[in-house]
Symmetry: C2
Subunit: 767 residues, 2 copies
């Protein structure tokens, strides 16, 4: 009863209790190894003014060199006004705590950042030249402050920073630079989120203030997507109940929904960009420190010597993408197609013993081989992109994202494509050839007959449920598994690592040379805090693009294949409600606090989104044409499909899509949004201020119109003077015939009166 009362305050008792218990579970997971929960919670209360922690590992370096380099590190930090404190980090690492001691350098960086923004149109007004004033009128929010300090630490000295580049070059020992979690805030955050259905714009503002715009954009995207999923899920449910699969009505609605969402999000990006004051930041080039120039040239713009890498040479290197794409497509494709073939063979040709077990062989192969291949290919893609030697972070990320997207596309969608466009239409032609896969099950077969399709009996027919089953697998089972993996694997990893360390120090203790526990030297009052920091230092790095990719891939299923199973959106709706909260928890609990970065877009993934929407218009129409007829699909022989009709359907659908997209863009461009309004208001205020300052002078001037009247002594003298100049130039003579507007008007009056009255008479007649 009491629980019910508590719940009824928010109206959502179930979710509240579910989610808060999830949170408590997570916090418990994090703190499970702590002996004193009380003391820990105290250590979680404060960050002791620490801005950043630098984790310095010296295990693999010569000791003298490591000491010298650490000296250099401290000096570099001090030179940009950062105060340092050193503590033992354990396992051959040192924790270097950093905080801003001298505001001047911070102000310098703020100023540089704001001038850069203003030049690129991110800010509408130039920053005040006195930075202190400028900062008083526009104080930094937390994420901005952290970003600026990070830049102070990592920017090259020529740009006013300390030049510390983690894991690179001479700073190889600097394993990470990270801010500390704000656990009090994090707890409130998760609690709040898990107790509400929808995230408001203020919730997103909050993320932006804490974690920076880049992460906030991910959450904003997922939230927009979630909101759009609600009507899609509703319509999907109705379709499933009343229209069934492959309904052209659902297909049309789905394609329109995808288009509307993609275009809406593009608008929304602009809006949020303005709201967060970051519109245009993606145009500011951030140079990569890893860029390796071939030669140095004089920049035509700045006149400075800069590194140069010829575009033609980069293009040659980019050509390597072709073999890479081929290798990726072939290797992934072969694995997937082989498993697909084996699976079809076992489930539909093979009829020997152990069939129900053997049918999992392909899943087994996929589960083991695919992640390995994926890791290998991702590494290759990263290396290849590095080899392409981009000058800016933006170009690098774009190139890498494209490669990753291709790989993900193959892994995620190829199996369904094979079923829909190869297995079903050409099944009768192809399946007999699947005999080659009998090697996989030969040991289990009792006689040869079990291994061959009896084509003569024609007992075999296409399994029409296969396509739907596959879609359901990818849109429900795989999503749930994925979500679970995301939460559980890092936890297991962390536990395993702790266990490993424990064992190692045990072993070391047995060997006699007991490693000194890092806690031994901790001042007692800092001990808990340091323990917490050491744990945070061991957490994983949070890469928001991974989460973003997941969402884009999920959107792809909806766009490409949801016509097969209209409940797809329902599954995603539920999944994403949890996903949003799980990601928040992941950031708070399982990852180091990320460095806040700015962004005004979800970046290259936006292109992937547009591409998937486009492709969706093609696949959906093709699926509808091929399968709608009898709700089971073509019977397996290609002759039943009329190619011209299929092509006509696709052609028509694709152009309908392009037309519709154009219409949506026009409608959206006409709508006003808070962000655009804010932008206009800012512009208006700046302009008004300028106008008022300048034009107030104009008001006090005498108007020329009054000049004609006052025939004063001055004007008469002027006239006399002008008279004496009468012969000077034709211009003066032309312009002095009439003095003032009254004389002009008088002359005109005379002319008009003298003119023949014809027309006026005519006009009167008409009356």
């Amino acid at each position: 009863m009491r629980a019910h009362e508590e719940g009824s305050v928010t109206g959502i008792p179930y979710f509240t209790s579910l989610s808060s218990s999830i949170y408590h579970l997570k916090i418990a997971l994090l703190t499970s190894s702590s002996s004193s929960a009380m003391a820990r919670s105290k250590a979680l209360q404060t960050n002791l003014d620490v801005d950043y922690v630098i984790s310095y590992h010296f295990a693999k370096t010569d000791k003298a060199k490591a000491i010298a380099q650490f000296d250099k590190l401290c000096e570099a930090l001090a030179s940009v006004g950062l105060q340092t404190e050193v503590r033992d980090g354990g396992s051959h690492s040192i924790l270097l705590f950093v905080r801003v001691a001298s505001d001047e350098h911070l102000f310098g960086e703020v100023y540089r950042s704001r001038v850069r923004d203003w030049i690129h149109g991110v800010r509408s007004a130039a920053p005040s030249k006195i930075t202190r004033e400028s900062l008083e009128s526009e104080p930094l929010y937390e994420a901005e402050r952290l970003r600026i300090i990070y830049q102070l630490i990592t920017n090259p000295p020529s740009e006013g920073g300390a030049g510390i580049t983690p894991k690179e070059g001479e700073w190889e020992n600097v394993k990470s630079i990270f801010p500390l979690h704000d656990h009090v805030y994090n707890k409130d955050w998760i609690k709040k989120w898990t107790s509400q259905y929808f995230l408001t714009t203020e919730d997103l503002d909050d993320i932006r203030n804490r974690l920076g715009e880049k992460i906030a954009f991910y959450f904003a995207f997922t939230q927009s997507y979630f909101t759009f999923l609600i009507p899609a899920a509703g319509f999907g449910l109705l379709s499933w109940l009343f229209l069934g699969s492959f309904s052209p009505i659902y297909g049309l609605a789905s394609a329109m929904w995808c288009t509307a969402f993609t275009e809406y999000w593009k608008q929304q990006e602009v809006d949020l960009g303005v709201r967060w004051g970051v519109k245009g930041v993606s145009k500011i080039d951030v140079r990569k420190t890893e860029f390796e120039p071939e030669k140095s040239i004089t920049d035509p713009v700045t006149g400075e010597r800069v590194g140069f890498f010829p575009a033609s040479k980069r293009f040659q290197r980019q050509l390597l993408q072709i073999p890479f794409a081929l290798v990726a497509a072939l290797s992934l494709g072969t694995v997937i197609a082989t498993c697909f073939g084996i699976e079809v063979f076992i489930s539909e040709v093979y009829n020997g013993p152990l069939k129900s077990v053997l049918v999992f062989i392909p899943t087994g192969i996929l589960t083991t081989v695919n992640p390995i291949l994926n890791t290998l290919l991702t590494q290759a893609a990263t290396r290849l992109t590095e080899f392409e030697n981009y000058e800016t972070h933006g170009a690098y990320e774009k190139a890498l994202t494209q490669k990753i997207f291709v790989m993900n596309f193959i892994m995620s969608y190829l199996a369904i494509f094979l079923t829909a466009f190869v297995y079903v239409p050409f099944g009768k032609v192809i399946v007999p050839y699947l005999d080659i896969f009998n090697v996989a099950v030969r040991p289990f077969a009792e006689d040869e007959k079990q291994l061959h399709l009896d084509t003569t009996s024609s007992s075999w027919s296409i399994n029409p449920g296969r396509l739907r089953k596959q879609v359901i697998y990818f849109t429900v089972t795989a999503q749930v598994v994925n979500l679970g993996m995301e939460l559980v694997v890092p936890y297991l990893k962390r536990r395993g690592f702790a266990k490993y360390k424990e064992m190692q120090s045990d072993r070391a203790a047995k060997n006699g040379g007991a490693a000194p526990s890092p806690t031994a030297n901790d001042p007692p009052e800092d001990a808990e805090f340091l323990d917490r920091v050491r744990k945070e230092a061991e957490l994983d790095f949070y890469d928001v693009t991974t989460d973003l990719r997941e969402m884009v891939v999920q959107f792809g299923y909806l766009s490409l294949f949801s016509v097969v199973w209209p409940l797809t959106a329902v599954s995603f709706l539920i999944n994403d409600w949890i996903e949003l909260r799980a990601d928040a928890m992941k950031i708070c609990v399982e990852m180091r606090r990320p460095t806040p970065w700015r962004a005004d877009t979800i970046g290259p993934w936006l292109d992937s989104l547009s591409f998937l929407t486009w492709l969706g218009s093609i696949t959906t129409s093709a699926l509808v044409y091929m399968f709608w007829n009898d709700h089971t699909g073509p019977s397996g022989s290609p002759s039943n499909i009329k190619l011209w009709a299929l092509l006509l359907t696709v052609f028509f659908s694709e152009h309908l899509f392009i037309l519709f997209r154009w219409g949506v863009r026009i409608v959206l461009s006409k709508l006003d949004s808070p962000g655009l309004q804010q932008e206009r208001r800012e512009r208006y205020l700046v302009r008004k201020q300028y106008f008022e300052e300048n034009l107030s002078q104009l008001q006090h001037m005498p108007r020329l119109s009054e000049k004609g009247d006052d025939i004063t002594r001055t004007s008469l003298e002027e006239e006399a003077r002008m008279g004496s100049l009468r012969d000077s130039t034709p211009e003066i003579r032309f312009w002095q015939r009439q003095r003032g507007w009254r004389e002009s008007a008088a002359v005109a009056k005379k002319l008009m009166e003298r003119a023949k009255n014809e027309s006026v008479v005519e006009g009167k007649k008409e009356l």
Copy 2:
């Protein structure tokens, strides 16, 4: 010999003499009615400091009202610092000469304009608040000065102008406001252009300085197009010689060329926009004075009361576009299709007498009906667009251009579409039904047989040359006729008008009430000048969009149908060389000097260009598929065309086009251009200036790194003070353990030395 020598200086004797004689002819045309060529040429030398001439017509208004309104006009002009002079304009009109007398108002307008530019990102730096200084550092060029004065005259008083709106509302009597031609410059201009093959960027700069960016953009576009035509013409000639019509190689090259040109021009627009300092001006909304708000609301941005017209109501009105488009398509389509049918009937079915004469009937119908329909529909489109009640000029122009483009599309291309996609493939099915057109020739036929196709004898077959003939007609004959019309019609119109006026005054003289000649009151020394101004006042208004439309329509033939006749580009190359010069002459001689406007694009025509390129990829591939087989096209019955193959060709070709366009965009975005470089340089300089001013302060600050060393009295005192605060807060205690970076480094050194040396040992083993 002498002539040859003269010519050899420029190396192009023929064109020089040809073109200069054209120019002399034109000048002669203009001045032919003058009695004294000598005196006239003197009047052409100077504009007597006149900035603008206002032509005030009072024939159709009540005289008293006209006088009162003129009074108001003069006062309004004087109130914004403009000096006025009145002269008789003849035929119930008054010429009001205007020049800037008080700089303050002009400066005010310049300042307003520059602040607006800066807010919209057109200028990178804010204008100096003291306008006089700002103008000294950036003087106005001629077109800018004229534009600013025009705005001073026409802007509403609330924005600092005189509020004179020609031909509208209370200013209905103000027929036109125009600057005077600079005949000395014009003569040099034409002479220069007619004696050079190519126009340089400096030539375009010159137009921009004189006539403003909007007209300069037209010339720049045509010049770019001309330059691109050179390789296209060369390849076209080779194709014509060696590949023949409907060659897939030519089709591919043509589609690629069109795409490359369209994308190149988009880049070029940006480049020129930066070069001319107008990049972004199209984003500045210019409000239409004709806008009729439904109600007035409080602007959420400025807080002022502004007119409001609900978008939903505008959308309802825009729905009228559907019936309009249907009417336009049906009426134009019916006329064209009927004429097409009659022509086919006469030339291929009818075999009675007078066939060679009767075959011109459809051309006759088209020549008379089409211009009438065109005028009616253009008027309807204009009214419809006005009814749609747009708030800004940009939106209005876009809406109007779209309608005009649809009409032009039907008029220009429908006939060829009918031949290619209806007549040729379905000829045998359709032609027998053309019997209905026998009414057109029945009176001439001798017996019924001549009116009917003898289908049984099957003597009739598709005329394979028809398509080519038609394309040649549209791309050569029609272009030449058009060019001629453009030059001759205005001349005839002007002559006719002069004749009419002469006759009218003769008649008036006969009736006794001889109208006083306007020249009677002219001061003798101004007489020639005034005569010239009266002539200029009677010239037509120059609308650059007409010329632009012509170019876009021409581009359409190239993109859509040039595969039919590869020499198309050669014809256009010649035509456009003349067109560019003819347009320059037209502006100088046959039109009033246009008010210079700014622009950073060719506007909505760019969309038309993209659309035509896209459609070209479809028509070209379809034509190649249908006609390539035997160089004559399908035999007339639709069964020969395989729909699936046609669709596959089109589908493939369209996606190849989209892929290629994507590639071109990427390549172009990588290229550096002078404009982009200039933009970067400007940004860099502004930023550098800001940085230097601010950061020079930072250099003088002591570095924290030095702080650790000097254990002075102060620092010792500080330490003592800190010690007393020891119990204060955990933060202070945490951060005071190490003082300065040297202490941090020392602590770290100790930690590192104490750490077990395992890994280092391992590392050495590996060595």
